[in-house]
């Protein structure tokens, strides 16, 4: 019966493990809070008085984020779609033109000018999209914000500074998230593309039907989790609007910390609000992703698992 005790020992170790894990986690968080509160003291009266102002500041963050995100969806889908399409070599256009001519029994092949212009146009838009995404991803959001702000400052100097800052911030955030979202859409559409379109066309579906019934349903499933992560990332990124003086949650918290010397209280409120907004959402996404995942289909594994870390 030595085996029984071995089994029991294993179970006991597991219990010890769990207990230690809980102690360490709770204790660690508790100690961090204690260490900070111990130094600064926690002014509950201040928190009671001001928490609604923080909630309002958080609302500003959410408001800006949501507007930028929704406009960014349009930009992102457009560029993502364009960039997902493959470029058609000139040779193929000529060959296709010849095929059409042969089928119609023409003895000379008409020059496919419209085709070339159309594909050339798509090529230019695609390369422009590539450049746009490269710039957005290659430079800090801080720089993007300040750049847009200085363009407005010089071009529309009569604008009220606060309005100017708001518009500049919104434009920068929108462009930023548009760039990141186009990567998401591109990955989503391209993941579906290969093979599936051919299979759909082989079944006799039209190009449009294939998009509608085969590609989009798969792409949407693929794109929703990273888009949600992008929303979370953008919410965090909106804190950078501080640089042009927009008082969303972070900026407000910093001013409170300085104006009233309520550093810990401000930190606690700001952090708590951000965590409340982000952690449940990303947990839900992780869960949904695990549950709804079609085996073998996922872009998170293919693209970088950037999780809620898109912007900045």
């Amino acid at each position: 019966m030595a085996q029984r005790t071995a089994e029991d020992r294993k179970r006991m170790w597991r219990a010890v493990d769990v207990a230690l894990a809980v102690v360490l986690t709770v204790g660690g968080v508790g100690y961090a809070v204690y260490a900070i509160v111990g130094r600064w003291g926690l002014d509950q009266g201040y928190i009671g008085d001001r928490w609604l102002d923080y909630v309002f500041a958080a609302w500003v963050s959410l408001y800006v984020t949501t507007i930028a995100f929704v406009i960014g969806l349009v930009i992102g889908f457009f560029f993502g779609w364009i960039r997902a399409t493959r470029s058609v070599p000139l040779g193929k256009i000529m060959r296709d033109a010849k095929k059409v001519a042969d089928a119609q029994g023409l003895d000379h092949v008409p020059f496919p000018a419209t085709q070339i212009i159309w594909h050339g146009f798509k090529y230019i838009v695609r390369r422009f999209g590539d450049a746009f995404v490269a710039v957005i991803r290659g430079t800090p959001l801080f720089v993007q914000i300040v750049f847009v702000w200085s363009v407005l400052l010089i071009r529309v100097p009569t604008l009220n500074p606060l309005v100017l800052a708001s518009i500049a911030g919104l434009i920068a955030l929108t462009a930023n998230t548009g760039g990141y979202q186009s990567e998401i859409f591109r990955a989503g559409l391209q993941t579906v593309h290969s093979g599936q379109v051919e299979a759909a066309r082989a079944l006799g579906l039209s190009k449009f039907q294939a998009m509608r019934h085969i590609i989009l349903p798969q792409a949407i499933r693929l794109v929703i989790p990273p888009l949600t992560n992008e929303y979370i990332g953008l919410l965090k990124a909106s804190s950078l609007l501080i640089v042009i003086g927009i008082e969303e949650l972070t900026g407000f918290g910093r001013r409170e910390a300085f104006d009233f010397f309520k550093v810990f209280e401000s930190f606690a409120l700001v952090t708590a609000i951000y965590l409340l907004l982000t952690v449940p959402l990303s947990r839900v996404i992780a869960y949904v992703e695990r549950r709804l995942r079609i085996p073998g289909l996922g872009i998170q594994e293919v693209t970088a698992p950037r999780a809620p870390r898109a912007a900045t």
């Binding site: 493990d17 769990v18 230690l20 894990a21 360490l24 986690t25 968080v29 260490a35 130094r39 600064w40 590539d130 450049a131 490269a134 710039v135 991803r137 290659g138 430079t139 800090p140 959001l141 801080f142 720089v143 300040v146 750049f147 200085s150 363009v151 400052l153 010089i154 990955a187 391209q190 993941t191 965090k236 990124a237 804190s239 950078l240 501080i242 640089v243 972070t250 918290g253 910390a257 550093v263 810990f264 930190f267 700001v270 952090t271 951000y274 965590l275 982000t278 952690v279 990303s282 872009i299 594994e301 293919v302 693209t303 970088a304 698992p305 950037r306 999780a307 809620p308 870390r309 900045t312």
Partner: protein
């Protein structure tokens, strides 16, 4: 590369500097030059304007040096931490996994700017007397930035570890390798290779995030450029279009730094690439 793999034929190891990568670099340079030319034309500025550069050159170069200094401090700390946290996260010992999960949740849930600002405000008061100095807040904020990125890198490494097939570990054990040996010779090399591309992205983000330190007075390229911006705005009669020069130059600096980072990581990835097993890239 992918097509070579598909044919399953033995092909020579892809050259470290392939023609494709040279073309890509060239394309990027041409694109950047074109973009700057277009910006100059649309916004009516002259990027090489000597009058601005005579005052901006010093802060510009000092700023680059400063930023590189912060990167040199933050990057190794974050990668080391991220690696071990990622490892701990998949441990079957909950003592390791649970606290790390909490750590990751916290740092990923809060904007890095919040972490930077409050690390510099709260941090110094928590440190013992003998560490106190004028730059302590800044150093702590830089470390906090590393902790923040480490949370993301932990997730990257965790995904890398988890995508190594279980059978690999079993096969290693069946040969008689000890757990640490199996980790060292079988799991790590594979997890590392799988982690490289996303790690490149994350390190690029980290480089950009060092700009956040300017919010608490760091001497970096973004902060110093902001100072020059203030100076220009409050000097009556100065040409405000010089701001475009400043921010285009700063954007270019960050672009080059992040591009270099991702290129280095891509190079590393090619070095450890396994024929027939190219990571899917789309």
């Amino acid at each position: 590369m992918a097509t070579e793999a598909a044919t399953g034929q033995t092909v020579s190891r892809p050259g470290i500097v392939s023609l494709g990568s040279v073309v890509r670099v060239a394309e990027t340079i041409v694109g950047a030059v074109l973009l700057i030319l277009i910006l100059q034309w649309v916004l009516e500025f002259e990027i090489a304007d000597p009058r601005l550069w005579s005052i901006y050159w010093r802060p510009f170069t000092d700023g680059i040096v400063g930023s590189l200094g912060y990167i040199a401090l933050i990057l190794p700390v974050s990668v080391l931490m991220g690696f071990f946290l990622g490892w701990a996260r998949i441990s079957r010992f909950r003592v390791l996994a649970w606290p790390v999960a909490t750590y990751v949740d916290f740092f990923r849930g809060v904007p890095p700017l919040v972490i930077v600002i409050f690390a510099s405000l709260i941090g110094p008061s928590l440190m013992p007397e003998r560490f106190q100095s004028r730059t302590l807040g800044l150093t702590l904020a830089a470390l906090a930035l590393a902790f923040h990125s480490a949370a993301y890198q932990a997730e990257i490494f965790r995904a890398g570890f988890q995508s190594v097939h279980r059978g690999q570990l079993e096969a290693a054990q069946a040969l008689g390798l000890k757990p640490l040996q199996a980790m060292r010779h079988v799991v790590l090399p594979q997890a590392f290779r799988l982690s490289l591309p996303p790690l490149g992205n994350e390190l690029a983000v980290l480089i950009k995030d060092t700009s956040l330190l300017s919010a608490i007075g760091a001497i970096d390229i973004f902060g110093l450029s902001q100072d020059v911006q203030q100076q220009l705005i409050f000097t009556p009669g100065s040409d405000l279009r010089w701001l475009f020069i400043i921010w285009t130059a700063v954007a270019l600096v960050y672009f080059v730094m992040t591009y270099a980072m991702t290129t280095i990581l891509a190079y590393l990835e090619r070095r450890v690439r396994v024929r027939g097993l190219e990571t899917m890239s789309i």
